[in-house]
């Protein structure tokens, strides 16, 4: 009890420390702007950014753009997850197919999604569709390779056990392979979601007429730098929240690990 109390104080101390550093940086930034050392068109002061944020939030523009970006990420990510998991499981289960397809995948993987933007615009025009395509492309590879590795690394005795327990194909897939690979698949989904968010912003800067990426690009052209910075902060926040949400989803979907995590947490606290 006493120790837990101590840890809490310690934690809140580090929190105030972090906050302190943040406040100092903001103060210096504000000072530089006010004293005229930095041109505010290049780096507007924190107070300008705050005012810009309030203006954008109250007019609803910020919400509309955020929703546009989030929608693109989610749809592209769901597509990537589906194909990534299915392809990863299939290739891991069928060696012969893997022999043919792995070289192709390894060749496509190093092409950054940004390099696909011209093709995506040619094929899908401007708007949601090229963004879905690019996001799916960016998120596919981490999901695919982690699923593949997850299935490949399943203990042989688990498969043997399932066989000796008379598992049919469906049970082998849904009761053994998939759950055994799930921790690895979730890592892939986590990385994939991070990629997806980066890709969507980039894609919107070039090939869209809405979304946070489009918004910061437009404001750059109009030299409204304070709006650009508001956009950047919101992009960071949403990305952060999405990955947090993903973490919560992970502990929810693998309860047998959640117990382990809880146990180690207890031991650490003791």
């Amino acid at each position: 009890m006493h120790k837990i109390f101590k840890t809490k104080i310690f934690n809140s101390l580090t929190f105030t420390k972090k906050l302190f550093i943040f406040a100092v940086l903001l103060a210096i930034w504000q000072f530089l702007g006010m004293s005229g050392y930095i041109r505010t068109e290049l780096l507007p002061m924190p107070t300008d950014v705050l005012a810009a944020f309030i203006q954008m939030a109250s007019s609803g523009v910020l919400l509309v753009d955020s929703i546009a970006s989030i929608k693109r990420v989610l749809i592209g990510f769901v597509i990537a997850s589906f194909f990534g998991i299915v392809a990863g499981m299939l290739l891991a289960s069928f060696n012969r197919a893997a022999n043919y397809l792995t070289p192709l995948i390894e060749l496509l993987r190093p092409i950054p999604p940004i390099a696909w933007i011209p093709i995506a615009i040619l094929w899908f025009g401007i708007g949601d569709n090229p963004a879905f395509f690019l996001v799916a492309l960016g998120a596919f590879f981490p999901v695919f390779s982690n699923t593949y590795e997850g299935v490949k690394n399943i203990q042989k005795t688990h498969i043997h056990a399932a066989k000796s327990l008379r598992a049919n194909r469906m049970m082998m897939l849904f009761d053994v392979l998939l759950p055994a690979a799930l921790p690895s698949i979730l890592i892939g989904l986590h990385i994939g979601l991070g990629f997806a968010w980066m890709v969507v912003i980039t894609a919107e800067m070039v090939g869209a007429a809405s979304g946070l990426g489009y918004m910061i690009q437009l404001n750059r052209i109009m030299l409204q730098t304070q709006f650009v910075i508001v956009g950047m902060i919101v992009i960071g926040l949403i990305g952060f929240l999405m990955l947090k949400g993903m973490k919560i989803f992970e502990t929810f979907i693998i309860p047998w690990k959640r117990m382990q995590i809880a146990q180690t947490m207890q031991e650490v606290q003791r």
């Binding site: 005795t157 056990a161 759950p179 055994a180 047998w256 117990m259």
Partner: protein, 264 residues
């Protein structure tokens, strides 16, 4: 009644970089009668686990005839239940779901599965832990779960590959007693691999002693101790005498195995 397991002139060679490969089993022959409890002892690397993997249908072999329940092995791959050295419990399933797995596999309806799982939970005394995950169980309880799961598959033959090796000796002795009772109750044929002579003598009707690699059966020792056996039997002279006899025979092989390793 025909034999539960018949092995004749079984040869198993692992491919290796050399021209010949590693001979794991050579001209191995033996029979196991239904409802017998057989233990196999042998020096490290003599092919005990290879033998179990072949009998379970996980591993092919080069020569010989292997009949399980009078059926050739290649026609019926899953005639035996297996308890693995590392247990191979499904970490993502609770105790209940692990035991339910083989029942689900044969398509038993849900309410019957429930009854059956309960039966096995009672049998191995895991009551109260049905909803625990393997990571939350002690070594002995994990063992019990693995055994219950194998029993639920309802094979006539149970192959056990050093299942108690990871347990402390107190738990180990308890588990041996439990296993002897389970064996008597379920009337299974058990083929049990172990490093512990104590365990082998306590549990078995017969002990197979294997030679150093390439492995074959060197000697079969009958254990004419009365059943049911209790822990105290270990301290009786008869028990010790049999154990010594097995050790004398096994010791030669262990030394041979060491010689081979030195020269290699």
């Amino acid at each position: 009644m025909s034999a539960a397991i018949e092995v004749e002139n079984l040869n198993k060679i692992y491919p290796s970089n050399g021209a010949y490969g590693v001979k794991a089993l050579e001209d191995m022959s033996f029979n196991v009668n239904p409802r017998e409890f057989i233990s196999v002892v042998g020096p490290n690397g003599c092919g005990k686990t290879t033998l179990i993997n072949i009998l379970a249908g996980f591993l092919g072999y080069e020569e010989g005839d292997v009949l399980v329940n009078s059926k050739p092995l290649n026609q019926t791959p899953n005639e035996c239940g297996v308890v693995f050295q590392n247990l191979a419990l499904f970490d993502w399933k609770t105790v209940y779901e692990n035991i339910e797995f083989p029942l689900k596999a044969i398509g038993l309806p849900k309410d019957e599965r429930k009854k059956s799982v309960q039966n096995y939970v009672d049998m191995v005394k895991l009551n109260g832990f049905e909803n625990s995950y393997p990571s939350e169980l002690s070594g002995g309880m994990k063992q019990k779960t693995a055994i219950a799961r194998a029993l639920a598959a309802n094979h006539k033959i149970l192959l056990m590959d050093e299942p108690f090796a990871a347990l402390d000796w107190q738990t180990r002795e308890l588990m041996q007693g439990e296993l002897e009772k389970l064996w008597a109750r379920t009337r299974k044929t058990i083929f049990f691999i172990t490093h512990s002579l104590d365990e082998a003598v306590f549990l078995s009707d017969k002990v197979f002693i294997m030679t150093a690699r390439p492995g074959k059966i060197k000697e079969i020792v009958d254990i004419p101790l009365p059943r049911p056996r209790t822990g105290n039997i270990r301290y009786e002279q008869k028990f010790q005498r049999i154990k010594r006899k097995i050790w004398r025979s096994l010791r030669e092989e262990v030394e041979k195995a060491h010689e081979v390793r030195k020269t290699a």
